[in-house]
């Protein structure tokens, strides 16, 4: 046990106010009725792309047409073929840095912010969705929830060592408030939605 910890704890105990109850967040009701429509509209607002799976034709061809075949494709969704590179936790960063597109199935999508949840269970290497030049996330409409409250109820953030909501492409407005996509991570983020199985 560190001495600083004891001292900090001691100061807190002497100075903290009387206990205040934790408010209940369960009373919050979502105002979003059509999660799919809001999800798509939000993606447009935040500079993300979306497509319906039924409209892209042959997924493998679609990938090639859209992203060319100059760089590597890491594909974790079998609908889109095997990709051109297999990676694992020990793949060197220089190799990972040659990835043009990463196709990753998401676990859940959030309508209000366009976020898609990924975690260790879905990722062979944690850096994959950031180091790729372009990102394709695949989801079923059935995996959409209206807001973050519902999202946090559905996922367990500590189920794996790392989990993340990704909402659109990497971006910055640090130079004169001009929005630029492709800051340190992917330049584009495309979400392909499969219809819910009836």
């Amino acid at each position: 046990m560190s001495r600083s910890k004891d001292e900090i704890m001691d100061r807190i105990r002497r100075r903290k106010p009387a206990l205040v109850d934790l408010p209940d967040t369960r009373g919050l009701k979502s105002h979003i009725a059509d999660a799919e429509a809001v999800f798509k509209a939000t993606l447009e607002l935040i500079g993300g792309d979306w497509a319906d799976f039924t409209s892209i034709g042959n997924p493998e061809k679609w990938l090639e047409t859209r992203y060319g075949n100059s760089g590597h494709i890491v594909c974790l969704d079998s609908d889109y073929g095997p990709g051109t590179l297999e990676i694992g936790p020990d793949t060197p960063l220089e190799v990972l840095n040659t990835i043009e597109v990463a196709v990753i199935p998401g676990k859940l999508g959030v309508a209000e912010n366009g976020g898609v949840w990924l975690d260790d269970a879905l990722l062979p290497h944690r850096i994959l969705p950031f180091i790729a030049q372009h990102l394709v996330l695949t989801l079923s409409v059935a995996q959409l929830v209206p807001d973050l409250h519902e999202a946090y109820r559905r996922i367990s953030v500590a189920e794996t060592g790392f989990g993340i909501f990704i909402a659109g492409p990497s971006k910055t407005a640090d130079i004169e408030q001009s929005l630029v996509k492709g800051a340190q991570g992917p330049r584009t983020a495309m979400i392909v939605l499969k219809p819910a199985i009836p």
Binding site: S2, S4, K5, I8, M9, R11, I12, R13, R14, R15, K16, P17, A18, L19, V20, D21, P23, T25, L28, H31, L45, P89, L93, E94, N97, E112, N113, G115, R126, I127, F130, I131, D147, L148, H149, A151, Y152, V157, A158, T160, G161, F162, G163, I164, F165, I166, A167, G168, S170, K171, T172, A173, D174, I175, S178, V180, G182, A183, Q184, G185
Partner: protein
């Protein structure tokens, strides 16, 4: 003139630039309004966020203990730092144990507060700030002027010149897209070295022992997941009870700060990748002292969104550097006097007390009321500048004597009419600076009332 006023005076000397700065921030404030209006439950969220933080501050020791136990169980090494120097020493020690002399950093106001960069650099560690705005100001060797938009005070031409000098971009290039691309390549070379990464923390989850980091660029994740050593520096007040509380804060944070529904990346780190290490440093550095100040402890609820800066009429027209503190603007002016009252006694006066900061604060901190309260503390401590002290004394004397008060209006009106300009517009009269004093009415309210009141 106070320090802030002097620096603000220097800032507004360039009128066009002042207007540009003012409008850039007001634009961000307007985006915040639009984002807030999309949620019918906005006020409910603010009340909940404030309530959760009330609970956190009243139960902080218990929650921190839980956080620490849980994080340790997850395989994370938890360290405790009473102050800035202990924090810095811990970071250095971890790096030295791994023989690492290079650190990629993502945004952290706490490490700014602790002066981590100069400390490490003086001991032979190269520190690379990886948020674009942070990298820009690091290259310029100046502090951030805003907690969310660190380089908001700079024009693209200035960034272009800087990048030409430091990164070899073509002379005269000032297109933000091209400059960002140059920075992307520059920073990737550091990410690919994969040595050590340090981030700040937006939220620490007591229930699960994890930390949450929000960025738009993805720089925190590029750093952390490439590194064999990840360090997260967290102030004790960042704790929240459980993951279900996160929804409330994530929904408020970016909408309040930049008007986005959320940041692009909301990362949850709970344990290191196999073969790597994860450390969390829990830092006090004056926070427990603020916790003991009943009138000011509320300021510890701050989630660092920057909304109070974007809306503040003083901040927008004086720039972040005029405050000379790690955290500028309204929230900084209630946090910093608690660290060094004498040095920062002028900051609570850098406000019109209009209350806009409190109105936009996502966790409902009564910022303008605390600014007012700090003024009283400063007066009681005898730290008012003489001009203010004399003015206050004179005003108190007049207000305490009804007949003096009655006459003072008459005298002031006559003075405004009769005195020559040099007697009104001189350096003794702050109110005559940069503004025309009003034309004096012939009659005061009291005289008018006596004449017109119904019998």
């Amino acid at each position: 003139m106070s320090q802030h006023a002097q620096k603000a005076a220097a800032f507004i000397r360039d009128e066009a630039r002042t207007d540009w700065h003012d409008q850039a921030l007001w634009f961000v404030r307007s985006k915040r309004d639009k984002a807030a209006a999309t949620l019918p439950e906005w006020e409910q969220l603010r009340a909940l966020a404030s309530g959760i933080k009330d609970h956190v501050l009243s139960n902080l020791d218990v929650l921190l203990e839980k956080f620490s136990d849980q994080a340790s169980a997850n395989g994370v090494k938890v360290h405790w730092a009473s102050d800035a120097s202990e924090h810095n020493a811990i970071v250095l020690n971890i790096l030295q144990q791994h023989r690492i002399r290079k650190l990629v950093k993502s945004k952290s106001m706490l490490t700014e507060e602790c002066g981590l960069n100069p400390f490490l650099e003086a001991r032979g560690v190269e520190v690379i700030d990886t948020d674009l705005g942070e990298r820009i100001i690091q290259m310029r060797e100046e502090p951030p002027s805003h907690i969310v938009l660190p380089a908001i005070h700079l024009k693209k031409e200035e960034v272009g010149e800087l990048f030409h000098e430091k990164l070899g971009t073509p002379e005269g290039l000032s297109d933000p897209t091209a400059l960002t691309e140059a920075a992307r390549h520059h920073l990737r070379t550091y990410f690919l070295e994969g040595a050590a990464a340090l981030t700040g923390v937006n939220f620490g989850i007591a229930e699960t022992g994890g930390v949450v980091v929000c960025t738009n660029e993805g720089n925190a994740d590029m750093g952390v997941h490439g590194a064999r050593l990840q360090i997260h520096s967290m102030g004790i007040e960042k704790i929240i009870p459980g993951a279900t509380d996160l929804g409330v804060f994530i929904r408020l944070l970016a909408r309040s700060g930049t008007g986005q529904p959320s940041t692009v990346y909301t990362a949850h780190y709970h344990s290191p990748r196999p073969g790597t290490e994860m450390h969390i440093i829990v830092v006090d550095n004056g926070r427990t002292e603020q916790l003991g100040r009943e009138d000011f402890r509320n300021s510890l609820k701050c989630i660092r969104c920057g909304a109070c800066m974007n809306t503040c009429p003083i901040y927008r027209r004086s720039g972040g550097h005029s405050y000379d503190t790690t955290i500028p603007g309204p929230i900084g002016s209630i946090l910093t006097p608690g660290i060094d009252l004498k040095k920062h006694a002028d900051l609570p006066f850098a406000s019109t007390l209009c209350g806009s900061c409190s109105d936009v604060c996502p966790v409902k901190i009564n910022i303008h009321e605390q600014l007012y309260r700090w003024r009283q503390v400063i007066a009681e401590a005898g730290l008012l500048p003489p001009s203010k002290k004399m003015g206050m004394k004179a005003a108190a004397a007049v207000f305490a004597r009804p007949d003096w008060y009655r006459n003072s209006g008459r005298i002031a009106r006559a003075a405004l009419r009769l005195l020559p300009d040099w007697a009104v517009y001189n350096r003794m009269n702050e109110w005559g600076k940069d503004r025309e004093l009003p034309e004096a009415p012939a009659q005061g309210f009291r005289d008018w009332y006596l004449k017109n009141k119904k019998p």
